[in-house]
Symmetry: C2
Subunit: 111 residues, 2 copies
C-alpha cells in the first residue's frame, strides 16, 4: 500500500481478529499508517506509551480515546483528530462494532 | 483551531473567495493544516514548488491534482491521498464547486 496515491477508504476488511495496520509511508523521521479496527479496543489495564509523537484522525467509523491522566473520554467520529504527544499514556476505549473504524495516524520524532 | 482534539469536518465555510487554511499543529519539523476549497483551483501556469515534503488527503469533496512532469491527472475523493515530495511541481487542477473540499495536509522537513 506504499504508493504515491493511496486510497484509504478502499479495500476495507469487514471482519478482523486483530487491528490491521498498513504502512503508507516511511521516511527518516516520519511514518504514516492506516489502521483499521473492527470493534477492537485496548485492555483496560493496557496503555500505549510511545516514544514518538502521534497525530491521528478517524476517517470513518467511531472510537473513544482515554488518557491515563484524564478521566474524560474523547469520542471521535469522521474528521475528528487527536494530537498525542510522546509518552502520553492513552488507550482506545472503544471502537464501533457495526462498521470498520479507519484511522489515519502520523508518527514522528523531533530533533 | 490548534487544539488537542480538532474536528475537521465541523464549522465548514460554504462559500469562500479564497481557500481557507487553518493551522492545526506546528512543531519544530512538522506542520498540519486543514485546507477548505470551494471550487478554487490553481491558475494553469501556476505551480506549487515547495521546500517541504507534503502528504495530503481529501476528507470530503473532490479534487484533481496535476503534476508538471506527468500528463495524467489524479482525481481524489474522500480518503484518497497524495505524497508530494519536496520540489515536486504540482497544482490543484479542479475542486468540486458543489460542496467544500476539505484537505488535511502534513508538511515536514527531513534531517
Amino acid at each position: 500500500m506504499t504508493t504515491r496515491h493511496p486510497r484509504l477508504l478502499h479495500d476495507l476488511p469487514t471482519s478482523l481478529a486483530e487491528e490491521q495496520i498498513d504502512e503508507l509511508l516511511r521516511r527518516p523521521n516520519l511514518r504514516i499508517e492506516r489502521i483499521v479496527s473492527t470493534g477492537q479496543s485496548s485492555a483496560e489495564t493496557s496503555w500505549y506509551d510511545q516514544s514518538e509523537h502521534e497525530w491521528v484522525i478517524v476517517l470513518s467509523g467511531r472510537a473513544t480515546l482515554r488518557y491515563e491522566d484524564d478521566d474524560a473520554e474523547v469520542e471521535l467520529g469522521p474528521g475528528d483528530a487527536a494530537f498525542i504527544p510522546a509518552h502520553t499514556k492513552h488507550q482506545v476505549a472503544w471502537t464501533t462494532p457495526n462498521e470498520p473504524t479507519v484511522w489515519l495516524a502520523f508518527f514522528w520524532s523531533e530533533p
